[in-house]
Amino acid sequence: MKPLPEGKSLGWMQAPASWIGSHTVRFIGVVRVVIQDGEGFILIKKGKPLFYYFKQGTIELKGHTALDYFNSHPVIEFNLCKYNPDELAWAMKLCNIEDPDRVVPKGPAVYGSVSREPTAPSLTLVPSVVKPVRDAGIPDPVVIAHPVPTVSKEPPVTGSVSREPTAPALTLVPPVARPARDTGIPHPVVVPHPVPTVTKGPVVPGPVSREHNPPSHPVVPPVAKSVQVKSVPDPVVVPQPDPTVEERAVVPPTVACEDPEVTLLSQIRDLDGIVALAVFNDTRTVIMMGDEDSEALVKIARTMLGTARKMTPRLPWGPFVHMTFQIPSGNVIIAPYHDNNLCLLTTRAINIGHIRRILRDLLQKSVTEQMT
């Protein structure tokens, strides 16, 4: 598999893997995941995960196995990268999956010359997870003898078929042992029918930008405070009418609601002149979008916030609305944001009036929510 299209980065975040599925209802793109020294991705189309992938060293995980691995971490660090339709189509092609929304007629048997290359069992191609040195929560590899799929079990096909064969899930998805200390992780699901895993050719994960330096402080769940790992439902494979197409997509249940918070923050981040965005509180950075040094930015923001907090009670003007600190190279803007604080790093060219309007709207919305 070749590297996936880069897409447009919306920023890095830290959250439980379950948070991704429930907050990306309108998102189309790839979520690049970095865990320890490994990298992976979740290809998403409007909240529907199309493909899970993770690679650490020579170990590769796909589908449910990768999802289980993501879920085995209370919080993962990831970068939301938006795709346009062409990029999505290309990424899906690279992942060897087809659009689940596409209606594929249940055609009769295809005639012509058969070109069926049996897929080798996954044991040889997809080793189990190697426990990272620093992570005690990752299960030890489990080696299971997998039966080699035989063509005779397949429905009879005559004529030419250019479809790539898929092996039964049992042969392709090495189970991941459940970490003993984590009770909230769902058990690996044994899928009773073929599961799409791309095993042909060298498998290379999508490019994950490592320019971003994850903060050294302990990672914490962001806005999705209420989302806990234990609430992650077991992945469900929805019965699909056409196994040649539909079974390629691992489809956990999607959450119908959209998180306006992420949408709003992404919209702000996308404004011209916004370099980085952070949501922080006294103890931690909740959300960071942008490639700037998050610790340095939040440190400055906390200093500003400290000033605002000391001043506000001495002035009879009501609550602090926002503060902009302008230096020759740009602006740092802070404002209260729900129970946290919002920090924006901007260029000097930005329209401060526009930012003020946005911040006022945020504050009003926050006050309204508190009242209700």
């Binding site: 605002a308 600190f325 302008q326």
Partner: protein
């Protein structure tokens, strides 16, 4: 003479106070209209200056900085004049920031000359 220049700011729509202040919070000159410079306010100004300086220090080399701080009905605009001297404008949110900035550009040299 300094007050005359500060008055050019005070006559702008909904500007309520203008202060020339040192970076340590010390007041050099001030005028006001429709508000009181009580002890609490002066303490807040001092905190504003010290806190802003501390923030500037985190950028390194203490760059020239400008600070805009907004409350529901009022805002503070702090602009550098010369080395450790700043101009602080207190205005209602209905004031025109563009006008204030323009007045700063026009009168900055005169203000600096008097410091």
């Amino acid at each position: 003479m300094l007050k005359e220049i500060l008055n050019k700011f005070l006559i702008l729509h909904d500007v309520r106070g203008v202060i020339v202040v040192r970076e340590d919070g010390g007041i050099v000159e001030s005028i006001k209209s429709g508000m009181e410079y009580n002890d609490a306010f002066m303490a807040a100004v001092s905190t504003f200056m010290v806190g802003s300086k501390a923030t500037a220090d985190t950028f390194g080399n203490s760059p020239a900085f400008m600070v805009f701080m907004e409350f529901p009905d009022y805002f503070l605009l702090l602009a550098p004049l010369k080395e450790a001297f700043f101009l602080l404008v207190i205005a209602q949110n209905t004031a025109n920031i563009g006008q204030i900035n323009q007045a700063m550009k026009k009168n900055r040299e005169d203000l600096v000359a008097l410091l």
